[in-house]
Symmetry: D2
Amino acid sequence: MCRWIAYSGSPIRLEELLYRPRYSLIDQSLHSRLGVETTNGDGFGVGWYTGNGGDEPALYRGTGPAWNDANLREIARSTQSPLFLAHIRASTGTAVQQTNCHPFRYANWLWVHNGSIREFHRLKRDLVLAVDPDLYPFMAGSTDSEVMFHLALTYGLRDRPVAAVERMAGLVESVGRAYGVPDPLQMTVATTDGDRTWCFRYSSEGRSRSLFYSTEISALRHLYPEQANLRGLSEETRLIVSEPLGELEGAWQPVPESSYGVIQKGDDELGRFEPAMP
Amino acid sequence: MCRWIAYSGSPIRLEELLYRPRYSLIDQSLHSRLGVETTNGDGFGVGWYTGNGGDEPALYRGTGPAWNDANLREIARSTQSPLFLAHIRASTGTAVQQTNCHPFRYANWLWVHNGSIREFHRLKRDLVLAVDPDLYPFMAGSTDSEVMFHLALTYGLRDRPVAAVERMAGLVESVGRAYGVPDPLQMTVATTDGDRTWCFRYSSEGRSRSLFYSTEISALRHLYPEQANLRGLSEETRLIVSEPLGELEGAWQPVPESSYGVIQKGDDELGRFEPAMP
Amino acid sequence: MCRWIAYSGSPIRLEELLYRPRYSLIDQSLHSRLGVETTNGDGFGVGWYTGNGGDEPALYRGTGPAWNDANLREIARSTQSPLFLAHIRASTGTAVQQTNCHPFRYANWLWVHNGSIREFHRLKRDLVLAVDPDLYPFMAGSTDSEVMFHLALTYGLRDRPVAAVERMAGLVESVGRAYGVPDPLQMTVATTDGDRTWCFRYSSEGRSRSLFYSTEISALRHLYPEQANLRGLSEETRLIVSEPLGELEGAWQPVPESSYGVIQKGDDELGRFEPAMP
Amino acid sequence: MCRWIAYSGSPIRLEELLYRPRYSLIDQSLHSRLGVETTNGDGFGVGWYTGNGGDEPALYRGTGPAWNDANLREIARSTQSPLFLAHIRASTGTAVQQTNCHPFRYANWLWVHNGSIREFHRLKRDLVLAVDPDLYPFMAGSTDSEVMFHLALTYGLRDRPVAAVERMAGLVESVGRAYGVPDPLQMTVATTDGDRTWCFRYSSEGRSRSLFYSTEISALRHLYPEQANLRGLSEETRLIVSEPLGELEGAWQPVPESSYGVIQKGDDELGRFEPAMP
């Protein structure tokens, strides 16, 4: 499987979250504690916005392990961003290549996924056929994750994100049933338009991969009391992570099963996720 | 575009053809003389058989330039084969990744292609839909070349190779017409089952990329009079190449426009290639 | 050999110079017009400062060709800098690996080089022994270029840059003489501390690789009249390049043989370069 | 650290040992059971002889993890060898690049190492200076392992291998003492000339990395009773491994602390390893 992190809030250097915490994403690439696979060394990626909501975010994606990538270290040190997604990959069978590395991007949107579509090689053709033909040429890789993204785009991600992802999930489960594949979908997902960030935790079998959020910025501040640059983070700063970056009691809340969350200005949202027929 | 070479005959070390000739394939990766692009540095590959016709051939494919690949040099030095295809790539837009490097393989078959399907991003979906759903999961990359291979397999490559490739070409031209894409197909192709090798030279516009064959082994012997290991090559040894490996007068014959050739035990064949509706 | 570019002036997005000009550095990686090698596909690198002179610059270096590197495109699009060096490499024999890609960095200094030390494999040991033992551990690769940089650092690059590079050149020529290697040094070099930039053009034989500078910002503005973002460039903006990025009459001046230049606030300098015994 | 395997005996396809066993080397790259590091994903390599003792062996080395390398799988499937070394790397700080991947080669010799020289960056210069100047140009990477190999070559590896490695170890400990580095050497090493194979287990502190050998071919046969191709292995077939490839009782014997072994025709040798001043 994979591990990911989504950050939203006061501009921060990427390295503060990718490298510095005790159980940072880079550390998880070598030995994840909660993942299905302990090693996530089949590529990685980070996508970041430079500050203006409507801009196309920048991507840096590599096919080697994140832990030994010298360029990632440079970029993480020299880049500040108010909103970014990062991902480390453990392939479930598809090729290790840049076009299979998350985040995936479409215009100003980014998408990261942990999990899989069971027996994807059998279901793939039917799923790909359901992608809007105008979006079809934008799929460059071979992963289930990228197909899920383009299905969500097909079903209106840009207008009604939660409903679009619910329809994507509904389609996957419907096609899975048609092919006799039990419990076909397993996912934690984050997607963002550069302004708001949506996260999803769902699996057909009701036992989803782990997902946590930092309810209050105070959690982060407690995590790194010695880091002056974290003291200035706004109250709306939030993190969503596959697994906690540290062990501070109370800092991390699990996202409930079959739920979605929205990180946004003002009150965040948390709601029930229910797959729907497209 | 790309450059490729197909060898069939007495077992030979790969380096004899990949590195030693004056205008070897490796030399062509840096500066091709007849190619549309002078540099072919977007990946490469070689597929070779170990001697028994029915075996699945081995592949070595890389995403960097062939000219600086230390492993290719090692493999070419240590590997002997009676039949191999090698390819250097100049991307026409799709990603530089191993799954886009030629040769493509299916069971005991290999396929290399130079050329392109014009406006492939627009035609791709319709072409992919025509691939046999049972073959669909075997497409791992994003190139036009791989789709062409799987269309040919769909249309019976394993039983009637020439007819199958003609139907593939017919489909591409038909879909091209439907989308208003003029002269959609440009190709030189080699494909082999480990026993016989078929080559094709065709383009919708009737101005195909260059393709040559060595009519007699004497040509090769003249090319390398000093190389004792070439003296023992059988009379049936043949080379098909995107561009001649040397300048010996009379050693290389162009494959005519809209033609196919078959390299096999006994007499070789040369015939007219005519796209057909699938 | 290689090609490089040094920019100093008003903050600019890297892509404006790496990708947009007609004969941009990326274009030169595929087909250089003035280089000894037409293809520079053995790696690349860019080093940039974020605006404060004393900061350690960031590096992005890759081992594939610059022209097909998707990450370089992203970084060039999303990064602004008032001072950066970029380099494309054509190996003269040493391995294609990140630690051999320019720019080389030491603290706040960067270094790029085009050229070579003749028969470097024979001279290397003596040259490396002359590097300050405290600097020795900072050499991570195997190129002549990196040894030249650390020799210059050994001889006082940080205090008296021109004299230090002259002593480095003197040592190379002295060791060359000792080993009977004629005309051992060929170089164009740029080095910077993030504030000033020094460039050098020299070769033992007196026929150095090409090097040009843009005397006035008006040259750049003429090059890109349609680009609004160039109109605001300060009068002190300067470019030094291995070969001109365009064909505008009068825009590019050759750096004379055996010369150095200094790009700095106030008047630039141009002087005679004379190797000196260390 | 790293993990390695040395095979000597009846010709065998590499994949039989690299992929098939339960705790194969490829499996160890993802999760080693006995290694200091559980993940060995910083490159890998295999060097094999084609059957004639005096030949230069072939190398295939990659910088990504072994577990997801498609080419390694192809080579392992298509290559037979009577003698090969394979290695998976966990960097102790030096760059992840092909020239740092084991095996290292010099003429017909190969060398693999697990362990490290403590504070190598401080000791490196003195150690490198002790390498024969004629051998100096053959060092292409930056690892302690490669320097150890060239020191052993300097001290007569080709003539008296055990004594040469003992002198290398003596030098490392002597230089370590001079710099105040306690217990500087930690190593298990295999080296071969294509005919005999020497292995070493030693550490200055007397607590060396694990190393095992298969005393009798019957062990292998028990490991893979279902594999017909193993039944024909000669009685002299031997394996030396960083950690056992399976759990068969009695199949694997630890190499004792401070020992060396020689795998050769006729009786193998086992002796005491004692560092000596060069």
